[in-house]
Symmetry: C2
């Protein structure tokens, strides 16, 4: 085993999970984590709720403080950017506050994450236009939404990490009364709720026909009704070209297919891109643009691993690499790689691209392959059924309409994926689908699952069982 340290590039979910697991294994090697920013190990997923005001302090969203990382024996260097990787010499070049230096590695983990897409929206650099990727963005947006009289950087709970100048600048501005959200994905839907809570007139622009595209039409349609019921104005099938600013360089309007709508702010959530540029010449990238890895997170370069939002991971249904930017797979892959590098090989696992999201009071979930074209591309002959059933026994108060779509392969009967939407415990029910996918269950096997039943929690036939029953009838 090399005496050179385990070097980790990126101090968020995957990177610090790997470093923590490695440090706990108590080898005689050091682990060094280089993080280009000031924040480490923070919960991206919490940022809309910080903006909304349900999460009080930025530091509440840290799952590991720099001090706790040090206590675990991790040599954590914040504001240190790795600017070059030499896989032949096994050395990385690091730009830090005190200059640039070279750091040799025994093993290397690339955990550089992803970035919010800003193209092709022209005007995204105007004041009042934001993407949401990180706590500094969240701090700036919440400051912007707060009355200047009340806005205080200290109230953000930034713990010394936050970009105070940026927060203060937006805190001093007159708060917006209206906002254009560009993109109806996770960020768009969650931020619609956050902006509504602040009393803004919210316009959501979605290029395709439905919001939450990865959740399919049945979920999208119910979420749209629900967003409208909460006062959000939807612009579906509407391609935003640019944001227009006033003379002071502040957002004044959104321009969509030639028409202008006056707004005071804009939130752009049109997707992410993997931060794979750093190693694009050093390791193989996959078709997704993220770093290709094997079952243990190893890249094409010896002793170089990749995990989290910059890397691929295999899909449990298709067996093909997919690009997943969610928290659990990043944590799990990082943890597995830390264990592998420490000498006890552990596979990074697979994903069903399971995801859940809250849209005001609606809970949405999806797992597996639910798009029929995608299923065909993967070699399946997909059949899909959608049902709506109560979330509880019909006679028990609080039963909520729950819509489930399941997709299966006609030839084998194998379940390929599913989506769910409803106001009562809908999201966690997708875990049944995710578990069935990991086990390669057929629809008939899903129909016969012995799921829990009691009037306050489920009808006799859980909505997922009802969907399986109906889908089986169509196979």
């Amino acid at each position: 085993m090399s005496a050179e340290p385990f070097v980790v590039v990126g101090g968020d979910a995957a990177g610090l999970s790997a470093a923590s697991k490695f440090a706990r294994a108590d080898t005689d090697r050091d682990v060094v984590v280089f993080e280009k920013g000031r924040w480490v190990s923070y919960a991206h997923c919490g940022t809309p709720y910080f903006v909304k005001g349900e999460v009080e302090k930025l530091t509440d969203m840290l799952s590991l403080s720099p001090e706790a990382a040090a206590d675990r024996g991790i040599d954590l260097r914040r504001e240190h950017e790795v600017v070059a990787v030499d896989t032949d010499e096994r050395v990385v070049t690091v730009a830090g506050p005190d200059g640039t230096f070279e750091q040799p590695y025994g093993d290397l983990l690339i955990a550089t994450g992803a970035r919010a897409l800003r193209e092709p929206i022209d005007g995204i650099d105007l004041d009042g236009a934001f993407t949401l990727h990180g706590l500094d963005d969240a701090a700036a947006i919440r400051s912007f939404l707060t009355d200047p009289v009340e806005a205080s950087v200290a109230d953000l709970g930034g713990g010394g990490f936050v970009d105070e100048a940026r927060a203060a600048r937006f805190g001093a501005m007159e708060p917006p009364e209206s906002v254009a959200i560009v993109g109806g994905g996770f960020v768009g839907v969650e931020m619609a709720e956050a902006f509504t809570a602040h009393g803004l007139d919210v316009h959501l622009f979605q290029r395709s026909g439905h919001v939450l595209g990865s959740f399919g039409d049945a979920v999208g349609e119910r979420v749209e009704e629900h967003l409208e019921a909460h006062g959000v104005t939807l612009h579906l099938g509407a391609s935003v070209e640019r944001l227009r600013g006033d003379d002071a360089g502040r957002v004044e309007a959104v321009v969509c297919e030639g028409d202008e709508l006056a707004v005071d702010a804009a939130m752009v959530g049109i997707g992410l891109r993997p931060n794979s540029d750093l190693v694009a010449d050093a390791v193989d990238l996959g078709e997704t643009g993220a770093i290709a890895v094997d079952d243990y997170g190893r890249t094409s370069a010896e002793r170089v691993y990749a995990a989290g939002d910059c890397a691929e991971i295999d899909h449990v249904v298709t067996g093909e690499p997919t690009w997943n930017t969610l928290g659990l797979p990043a944590n799990r892959a990082g943890r597995a790689i830390g264990q592998t590098v420490a000498g006890d090989p552990e596979p990074i696992g697979t994903v069903a691209n399971t995801s859940v999201v809250k849209a005001f009071d609606l809970e949405c979930g999806r797992a597996g392959v639910t798009d029929l074209d995608e299923a065909r591309d993967a070699g399946f002959d997909p059949v899909s059924e959608t049902i709506t059933a109560g979330s509880r026994s019909g006679y028990y108060p609080g039963s909520a309409e729950t819509t489930v779509t399941l997709v299966a392969d006609r030839d084998t009967g194998r379940l390929l994926g599913g989506t769910i939407v409803g106001a009562d415990r809908a999201a966690v029910r997708i875990d049944t689908v995710a578990t069935a996918l990991a086990s390669e269950l057929t629809v008939a096997e899903v129909e016969r699952l012995d799921l829990g039943y009691a009037p306050p929690f489920s009808p006799v036939w859980d909505p997922i069982l009802t969907a399986a029953k109906v889908l089986r009838g169509s196979l």
Copy 2:
């Protein structure tokens, strides 16, 4: 195929599911259902909530009315009791309002259900002492809890089926101010909530050390704390010998290990017994006392099936017959038998003995083999771990402590069972365990499941994943 009808004995979940499925198959044979009572196809599980007052009418709990059954082509005969079965001659003897007659059958389904155990509690026939098994019991108890001035049989919503004389008699009595619940199982825990809602002083007596025994100690302990926090007085490890009545024959005290406690009412929920006596000489019974069946619900007698609370069903973990009295397996087995009898054989499936129950605001779930002795008896070398984790991201409001116990086999790593308790979406999470059990997943495979994560619904590592991680470390 015989031209004689498909005869079903018992018009509840299993019986009417079978009859409905058979009738839909549109064969040229009739289906006749004999039900000894007036109620058919009603939701046992809803009765505590009817007593509590959350369910308004008795008829709300009917999943199929007699009229709807007739519309489906089912020849439903209520108040017809099958008193003898002759499997050689293929004929049943039926006692109905117009006398006794013989009914030949082509195929026969025994779906006679279960009954509430009344032994060995002496005094259970006193006024004010109840078991809860059926809508007439529920009607009597709710009437008893209602002030005589307000009590009205019409308010029960009995739809012409209810035992009005019994309800009226209890409705005329002075309502109780205190109650002894004998038995801390489902009925005991759910009725504690119902009686508390009516303002009674509630004493719950449990013979063993913990309530909800089938859910294990970790759940039992949390439920006990919660019951006490809601004002229920617990008497654990306390064997009730008898109920003592006053001169008018009404419950006056509960006698427990020589001590008396004055109470005005008693609720006895000490278990069920299968109604297998009718065919005890005609078909083989299993070790559980319920009717033994094969994978298609066939008994040892030709063309005689059994399903629901009177029959056994195989356990997915042990592969051995078990006795399960819950709604979903009864519905599923009945439906499968209806299809099989109609000529399209369908297995009745297996059970994990999954169950969920609400105890005031706590949600409890269990699935599989969770008792270590039971696991050893089944040939496993069980290892168990219990963890407590938040139900949501720690920074998100409303996260509730969720306690998960998982049990696995040391040799194979296979998951054997699990329990869960918590106030926030705990119960439905047991479905992940139930699905994993059906798929014979190992603990390592459970740990790598791609379950949903978003701050309002789950921490990054769902409590079930955390439990799997910890248990895997102990294998």
